[in-house]
Chain length 151, copies 2
Amino acid sequence: MSTPAFPARTTTADIELGTTLQPKFGPDGLIPCITQDVHTGEVLMFAFMNAESLAHTLRTKKATYWSRSRNKLWMKGEESGNVQHVHELRTDCDQDVVLIKVEQTGAANASCHNGYKSCFYRKLASLDASSLQLQFTAERLFDPATVYKKK
Amino acid sequence: MSTPAFPARTTTADIELGTTLQPKFGPDGLIPCITQDVHTGEVLMFAFMNAESLAHTLRTKKATYWSRSRNKLWMKGEESGNVQHVHELRTDCDQDVVLIKVEQTGAANASCHNGYKSCFYRKLASLDASSLQLQFTAERLFDPATVYKKK
């Protein structure tokens, strides 16, 4: 791989205020990743990366996650065509989360397997009512049955 | 509590395309939470909630997390004064993440204990160079030593 291996974590001061990416992978080898639309700031999805998928993301500039359900590397869009081109990668203060800003391509511009642009397509209808009622905030962009072979 | 208990999870169809909040708390009782600035869309922080902190957030409309390091309920701003007023709460397709949109108050408008508005104050300097060099993207808003008593 041309991407350098991720360095061992050093001191708190270095991790929090230093200038070297030292990602913390959890006991399961994973780091959470927040994915934002580079243009609108909309949060598109939340997933996990392992060291291999983070390195793959950096090398290809295409968002690549680790699928916990399929237990394999998951290059976003390899099946649906909705590839996420990475424009920016950030980490948080203690470097145990990454945030990527992406431009989605593909016919549908949908990151969600349910056919929505963002996975966060529902919000609580009211924060004032003591209710857990959700309302949809987006239109479906595609019918999943026509995009994914296995469904 | 006036907030209803969270319902048991039902079918995949109901969870993914239904209109009732059915949050999935992991084996550790926690659900990840992404916190965005309601005005700018900037991701401010990433933390965890348990059922109690999610209920507290809904009841008070002030972001309340679960501190894994201190093992206690953590109402954001109780020490620093930088309270996060919740304007919107979303969940993702499989309802195992929540996203809140907040307005921060307090002198500094800083969500990060290091004194930055957002915890994501560093980005990779270049996605083209095979380098893990980070660069700062924000100015410090306060000196942590003057805000937190224990440091």
